[in-house]
């Protein structure tokens, strides 16, 4: 009897922490989303029913706008990270002199925070100080211009995001047995065929998992956008979580902020499950 309790004892701290600081908060967000809870208008607080959701879906243009930007941001960012990250992983998986150093260098931006990334890239983007003037950058501020702000934030996040993608895919590449390549080479498969018939099928689960993790991460990315653009200019780079923060923190509207949070959580969960299903993640397949 005592022996069977051991694993439960071992996981009990984890379970307690997750229950207290992740599960319970989700429950309370769900509760608040059905309440009017605004610190600046305390007289109107109380049960709201689906009022917050009605307001969100039918009256709030900024909700839809931020949702649209979130989708665009996630798709562009994850798509580019997949292409560049895969290329980078394939390169640093080859054996060459100085590979360890090269890995440490190209992966290092991953260790850097969103705020620090912002700090560095502000130095690069500010007209008077930036390196872009060597490339013939016009004098206008990149981040203040609605036409250039999107490519600017995308490139900035790529700088930090591609390395982590490459790390995940490199880990996947290292799981592919070398004999498979030898066998394929013996059978006369060229480099391209080996890539498409050996590497890609074996990387499939790693790619699905990495794109999903990055997708969730970019959906929830707040620190970079918050400090780089603050969601501007004119809400052009406001993602849903950033909008939640604005509502909850700046206008102290906890009830409505919670409703937005629930929407984000449901969308994220739904998209993730759909994505895993569509890709038949983890199921046995014919390799």
């Amino acid at each position: 009897m005592r022996r069977r309790a051991v694993p439960y004892l071992l996981i009990s701290p984890t379970v307690a922490l997750i229950a207290a600081f992740l599960v319970y908060p989700i429950g309370s967000v769900a509760y608040y989303s059905l309440q009017h809870q605004n610190l600046t208008r305390p007289w109107a607080n109380g049960f709201a029913g689906l009022d917050n959701f009605r307001r969100m879906l039918f009256e709030d243009e900024l909700f839809w706008q931020s949702l649209g930007f979130t989708a665009k941001w996630v798709i562009v960012e994850v798509g580019l990270q997949l292409l560049l990250g895969l290329a980078l992983a394939l390169i640093v998986n080859e054996s060459f002199i100085g590979r360890g150093l090269a890995r440490s260098l190209v992966f290092s931006p991953w260790a850097v925070s969103g705020v620090l990334t912002t700090g560095i890239w502000i130095l690069l983007y500010t007209p008077s100080t930036g390196v872009l003037r060597f490339l013939g950058q016009p004098e206008a501020a990149v981040l203040g211009n609605p036409d250039t702000v999107f490519p600017a934030v995308v490139v900035t996040e790529l700088w930090r995001g591609v390395p982590f993608f490459a790390i995940l895919l490199l880990a996947g590449l290292q799981g592919i047995p070398g004999e498979l390549y030898e066998a394929a080479a013996v059978d006369g498969a060229g480099r391209t065929r080996r890539f498409f018939h050996v590497t890609l099928p074996h990387l499939r689960d790693a790619i699905v998992l990495a794109t999903l993790l990055r997708g969730v991460w970019e959906f929830n990315n707040v620190d970079l956008l918050y400090t780089l653009t603050g969601g501007g200019p004119a809400q052009a780079t406001t993602t849903l979580p950033l909008y939640v923060a604005q509502r909850a923190v700046d206008s102290k509207d906890f009830g409505y902020g919670s409703a937005l949070t629930m929407a984000g959580f449901v969308i994220l969960l739904f998209c993730s499950i759909l994505y895993l299903r569509l890709n038949r993640f983890g199921e046995d397949r014919d390799r």
Binding site: V6, P7, Y8, L10, I11, P13, T14, I18, F21, L22, Y24, P25, V29, Y32, I91, E94, R103, S104, L105, V106, S108, A111, V112, S113, G114, V115, L116, T118, G119, I120, I122, L123, L124, T126, V131, L168, A171, G172, L173, Q174, G175, I176, G178, E182, H202, D205, A206, V216, F219, N220, D223, T227, P241, L242, V244, A245, A248, G257, T261, L269
Partner: protein, 295 residues
């Protein structure tokens, strides 16, 4: 010794051995095009921003030289003494180290349970761990804030240690269980046959072999905590409790005219984590392939 070899990153074995090694012996011009040129371009993209930050941090204010010469440390003195990075740095180290310790200890416990026991609820536990990855930290701010408020932890570093530990844990447990699975159970069994308790067997036999895993998980937790901006921004509003990312964000706002201070603050923020990362990067790759991305 053989066990040590087993736990080391197996990068060499994973290189598609025969075909490529033979190829690289005779001169292959395709290799330059395929390997070195893209790698070089990517290195430029990676390193130019770091270099630009260093230039600003090290050259005198007002200089526009692309090479920082003569080198000056005036900006570091400004951020360290006047802006208060000495305090932010200390706070970040405190939060980072405590969160590292809690995360690692709890992850070893949870990882051991997952790797060595088949218990009822194990599948559910795994699912919950994976599901937590979809919980947006930014969206938990409201409820977490009220929890910490009722615990009296607002404005204390304790709230950051707790919150960061919770958000580090799921991935750390998954990584750790991968590392523990890689240590063969037979050595532990042998120790128990010789009269060791399970705990002593673990401490004496398994733990020493887990060193790469402990390094990977611990550094992962430290880097995440060191970089966490949102929690620190939300739960702490007293300047003497600021951590580095919060201090840096204020430097960006208030001193954006003083790019030297901004860059020097950036160097202070980057130096510890980039150094840690350079050292542990191979353990991390190995840990992810052992634990998380079993293809």
């Amino acid at each position: 010794m053989s066990a040590d070899v087993m736990t080391r990153p197996r990068s060499r074995a994973a290189v598609p051995a025969g075909a490529r090694r033979r190829r690289s012996k005779r001169k292959d011009p395709g290799r330059v095009l395929r390997l070195y040129i893209p790698l070089g371009l990517y290195l430029v993209f990676t390193l130019v921003p770091f270099y630009w930050m260093l230039v600003f941090a090290l050259r005198p204010a007002g200089s526009t030289d692309p090479v920082p010469w003569p080198i000056t440390f005036e900006h570091f003195e400004t951020v360290w003494n006047d802006i208060g990075y000495a305090v932010f740095f200390k706070n970040s180290v405190i939060v980072g180290v405590w969160s590292l310790l809690f995360t690692t200890v709890i992850a070893v416990m949870g990882g051991y349970a997952l790797a060595r026991y088949r218990f009822r609820g194990r599948g559910l536990f795994m699912v919950v761990l994976l599901c937590t990855q979809f919980i947006p930290g930014a969206m938990m701010l409201i409820p977490l804030f009220s929890i910490f408020k009722s615990l009296g932890l607002i404005n204390s570093l304790g709230s950051l240690v707790l919150a960061d530990t919770v958000f580090n844990l799921p991935l750390s447990i998954i990584l750790m269980s991968g590392f523990i699975s890689a240590v063969p159970f037979t050595v532990e069994e042998a120790a128990m046959v010789d009269g060791c308790t399970r705990l002593r067997g673990f401490l004496a036999i398994v733990l020493p072999q887990l060193r790469p895993g402990l390094i990977a998980v611990g550094s992962f937790a430290f880097i995440h905590t060191w970089n966490n901006f949102l929690f620190a921004l939300m739960f702490v509003s007293k300047q003497d409790s600021f951590t580095i990312p919060v201090g840096l964000s204020y430097t960006i706002g208030e001193y954006s005219a003083d790019f030297g201070a901004l860059a020097a603050g950036g160097v202070v923020a980057a130096l510890p984590v980039v150094c840690v990362f350079a050292v542990v990067q191979r353990y991390l790759v190995h840990g992810i392939s052992a634990g998380a991305v079993k293809g």
